[in-house]
């Protein structure tokens, strides 16, 4: 026995969460994969400096460089116009990851906000949920066409073609995909609001804002996490459909979804054309999913204590 008791340093919340998160193998693997993917698309183009939209102007050379299998000059091969697939994967990933993440965040934010409001405040429930019904019923394609027609040129003129298109796309995807999470969150909140701990918080006069932030939200984290992971995949694919229809980025501008879409035509002859973008999208979604799992466990005090 020694008389000096080791006093544990007071542990911070984020530290606790991080420690718990680290023990989750899947989450750590996901984090590493995602970080690698981000490095690949952000730093990659500085190392691999081929222009992803470059088409060889010399016809003879261009014919020779079409649909090449992986070589040292083109580690992932080339597409039907002789464009370098590695450069296209990098450029495409930057957009796809950004669009996927931002659009998902917008959609989750709107969905959670509306879901919580509708579930918690009875007065708002009717209006908000009927609005959700309306959005669910709207045909997506005409809605997007109208959005693009009304705001497309203006936003592009204001922010430049790239930033403008990006903003339009994430906005368009965000505002047309929040309804599922809103309905799910509302359902959970309806049940949670009658539970004892919420009643208790309310009865001691806790303001609604605090009840929602401290007691309701932490308990709807898991469905939100699921919606978020599924949302990223959805957003990446929706972007490719938008661009395909001419509502998004210019036609020669690559994104993962677009590469996959274009590759399907060549799937039998050149399977690598669909393999790389398909793999990238799946890896992104899988890693986000595992990170989500880890985060959910880490945020759950009942698990963290164990």
């Amino acid at each position: 026995m020694t008389d000096t008791t080791v006093i544990e340093k007071p542990r911070s919340f984020s530290r606790d969460v991080w420690d718990q998160f680290r023990t989750h193998k899947g989450a750590m693997a996901g984090l590493i994969v995602l970080a690698t993917l981000i490095l690949f698309v952000v730093v990659g183009p500085f190392i691999w400096r081929i222009d992803p939209t470059f088409v060889e102007p010399d016809a003879a050379k261009m014919i020779m460089s079409r649909n090449k299998p992986p070589t040292w000059a083109h580690p992932l091969g080339t597409d039907q116009l002789g464009r370098d697939m590695l450069a296209r994967m990098m450029a495409g990933g930057k957009v796809s990851l950004a669009v996927g993440t931002v659009a998902m965040l917008i959609s989750i934010f709107i969905g959670t906000f509306i879901g919580v409001m509708a579930g918690y405040f009875k007065r708002l429930d009717g209006t908000l949920m009927r609005m959700t019904d309306l959005f669910l019923a709207l045909p997506l394609l005409p809605l997007l066409l109208v959005l693009m027609m009304l705001f497309g040129d203006r936003i592009r003129a204001l922010l430049g073609p790239e930033a403008g298109t990006f903003l339009l796309i994430v906005f368009a995807i965000g505002v047309t995909s929040w309804m599922h999470s809103a309905r799910i969150v509302r359902g959970q909140v309806l049940a949670l609001k009658e539970r004892e701990f919420v009643m208790a918080a309310k009865s001691i006069g806790t303001p609604s804002r605090r009840v929602i932030l401290r007691h309701i939200l932490p308990n709807v984290v898991s469905p939100i996490m699921v919606a978020a992971t599924l949302g990223i995949a959805g957003a990446i694919i929706t972007e490719s459909v938008l661009s395909f229809l001419g509502l998004g980025f210019p036609p020669d501008f690559p994104t993962w979804g677009r590469l996959l879409y274009d590759g399907v035509e060549y799937m039998q002859l050149y399977p690598q054309r669909v393999m790389w973008p398909g793999l990238a999208i799946s890896l992104t979604v899988l890693s986000v999913n595992y990170i989500g799992d880890g985060l959910r466990d880490a945020l759950d005090p009942r698990i963290r204590g164990r």
């Binding site: 088409v55 039907q80 073609p161 001419g246 036609p251 020669d252 035509e265 039998q268």
Partner: protein, 567 residues
């Protein structure tokens, strides 16, 4: 090249194969795939290719066109000409004689009154007839007896084979459609879905935009035909799926418009289950130059109108250099394979009207650069983009959404970049681009871009109405709700004069000369229209299907009565 020769050989072999299987319905069932499914079987209410071609299995005209573009008789005894006296010497009347003993599929006789009725049906002011243009310039139609139809024109008609010739203007049965005139046309669902006809087949079931089930017409005029007892025309999917169903899985016997990339064409053709058939018509993929300023800085209503000339494309040297920088053969090799060939002509066929202009085919990148240099377009500020008087060679290039068009855009962009021209690409959903909605900024008529690419053709074999589209008074603009056909905003009084001259000329040699002259004025003399590819039709036929002859002048199913099963 090899592939194409092989295909042509195969197509010839089919054409020559003996059709000596003389019993109606002996060959069972045949499956046809139209990936754009037919919506209606009355070609007067929809002129979509899918609808017209499927309907041609059931409905026929007095005449039609064969695969060489010659007029052939169908319901008529023979084709009336000036020589045989069927067409009057002053070209104002044409007299058709029906074959004797013709019956509709319901067993009633076909008479000249049916033709007269069809004319009344399509020219009814409230009917919204899609083929009204085929009956233009007709003063009257007389039926002196049950077999004779006399069409009298307002003015001499150099090409009298418009009304009742080809799949687009067949004869309807007067008895069936009697209550469907004018505004009532769209209430006649049964008639529009199951028309009674004289063709080799009759409809047994019609599922709109999905499947047409047909059976051999018991009253078809040739008692030995058709060889097939039943036929299914299925719709849906896309061109690649359609090609696959014939060439790889063998589920279907014939697939329409299987336009897929050349490499897949080669791979599927190698599979040995079927062949691709190709034929060339008048469809030309082209880049159209905007002669007016599409700048977004101009107020709405003045963009892309004749009020402002285009800042850079008004210079013929720029247009010429842009055309010279393109390698048309490469475009064909990448995009169309056997279904395309490079062209410099707006009117690539028929032979009579096709100019001998081929100088654009070899790519001339260096000459194009030199041309721009001498014209004063140089890169004065070192940013890689040529400029002159403060105007940069910067171009917005739009087209409709379609994988081949997007590949073309990327390739052309590469060449133009090499030339020192900055290019921004834009693709627009086809339903918006071709929709012609005056409220949308993205229609091809509004042309809010510097250049745009699409394909167009003309009906039948006479290019006169097609060439007349480039007259000054057909320029789209706010005053006509952007509905004109002169997309380039090309305007040349000398051209207008030629159009007028052609409309008054009956002599074929003279017409040919005029048409070639107009074609050249638009293409190699001015580079307002930059033709790229003469696009053929490419369809797929199973090796077990015989008698198929691809026809680009009429409907593809024009000789379905001669199809048979190869055993």
């Amino acid at each position: 090249m090899k592939l194409r020769t092989a295909l042509l050989g195969a197509a010839c072999a089919f054409a020559l194969a003996p059709a000596a299987y003389a019993e109606r319905g002996a060959d069972g069932h045949v499956n046809v795939l139209y990936w754009q499914a037919p919506s209606i079987l009355n070609p007067y209410l929809s002129s979509g290719t899918k609808d017209v071609e499927t309907a041609s299995l059931i409905l026929e005209g007095l005449g039609g066109f064969n695969e060489k573009g010659e007029v052939i008789a169908r319901l008529a005894e023979s084709v009336p000409t000036v020589e045989n006296g069927g067409v009057s010497a002053d070209l104002t009347t044409i007299t058709w004689k029906l074959q004797a003993g013709l019956l509709w599929s319901d067993g009633t006789p076909v008479t000249s009154a049916d033709a007269k009725f069809t004319y009344d049906y399509c020219t009814h002011p409230e009917g919204g007839c899609a083929q009204a243009a085929r009956y233009e310039g007709i003063k009257s139609i007389d039926t002196p007896d049950a077999q004779t139809i006399v069409i009298t024109f307002d003015a001499p008609k150099p090409n009298p084979y418009q009304a009742f010739v080809g799949g687009t203007s067949p004869i309807l049965q007067a008895a069936q459609f009697a209550n469907c005139l004018g505004a009532a046309a769209s209430t006649c669902t049964d008639q529009n879905f199951m028309p009674i006809g004289t063709g080799p087949f009759k409809v047994t079931e019609f599922k709109t935009n999905d499947t047409v089930s047909l059976e051999a017409n018991p009253n078809y005029r040739d008692p030995a035909k058709p060889a097939f007892a039943t036929m299914t025309v299925k719709g849906g999917g896309d061109a690649q799926g359609a090609a696959r169903a014939v060439m790889e899985t063998g589920e279907f016997d014939y697939a329409w418009n299987t336009q897929i990339n050349p490499e897949m064409q080669a791979q599927m053709a190698a599979g040995g289950k079927g062949v691709f058939l190709n034929g060339f018509g008048t469809l030309v993929e082209r880049i159209e130059m905007n002669m007016t300023d599409p700048s977004a800085d101009l107020p709405e209503g003045e963009r892309s109108t004749v009020a402002h000339a285009h800042p850079i494309l008004s210079d013929i040297n720029v247009r010429k250099a842009l055309s010279m920088a393109i390698d048309r053969q490469l475009l064909v090799d990448v995009g169309y394979g056997a279904a395309g060939r490079p062209t410099c002509n707006l009117v690539p066929a028929p032979e009579l009207y096709a100019s001998d202009n081929t100088e654009c085919i070899p790519q001339q990148m260096d000459a194009a650069k030199a041309l721009l240099d001498t014209a004063g377009w140089t890169d004065s500020d070192g940013d890689g983009i040529r400029d002159k008087d403060g105007k940069k060679l910067s171009i917005l290039y739009q087209s409709s959404t379609n994988p081949v068009r997007q590949d073309f855009q990327a390739l052309v962009k590469g060449w133009w970049n090499e030339l020192g021209v900055e290019v921004e690409l834009k693709n627009i959903d086809a339903s918006v681009f071709f929709g012609g909605d005056a409220g949308s900024p993205d229609t091809f008529q509004k042309f809010y871009a510097d250049v745009e690419m699409y394909a167009n053709n003309f009906d039948g074999t006479d290019p006169e109405p097609y060439l007349a589209q480039y007259m000054c008074d057909k320029i789209p603009g706010p005053s006509n709700q952007w509905q004109g056909e002169n997309i380039n905003r090309f305007c040349d009084p000398a051209y207008d004069a030629l159009v007028k001259e052609m409309s008054a000329t009956a002599d074929l040699a003279k017409r040919s000369e005029l048409a070639k002259k107009m074609n050249d004025m638009l293409t190699k003399d001015s580079y307002v229209v930059v033709p790229l590819v003469d696009r053929g039709r490419l369809s797929a036929a199973s090796n077990t299907l015989g008698g198929v002859v691809l026809n680009t002048w009429d409907t593809e199913l024009w000789n379905a009565q001669d199809w048979f099963r190869v055993k």
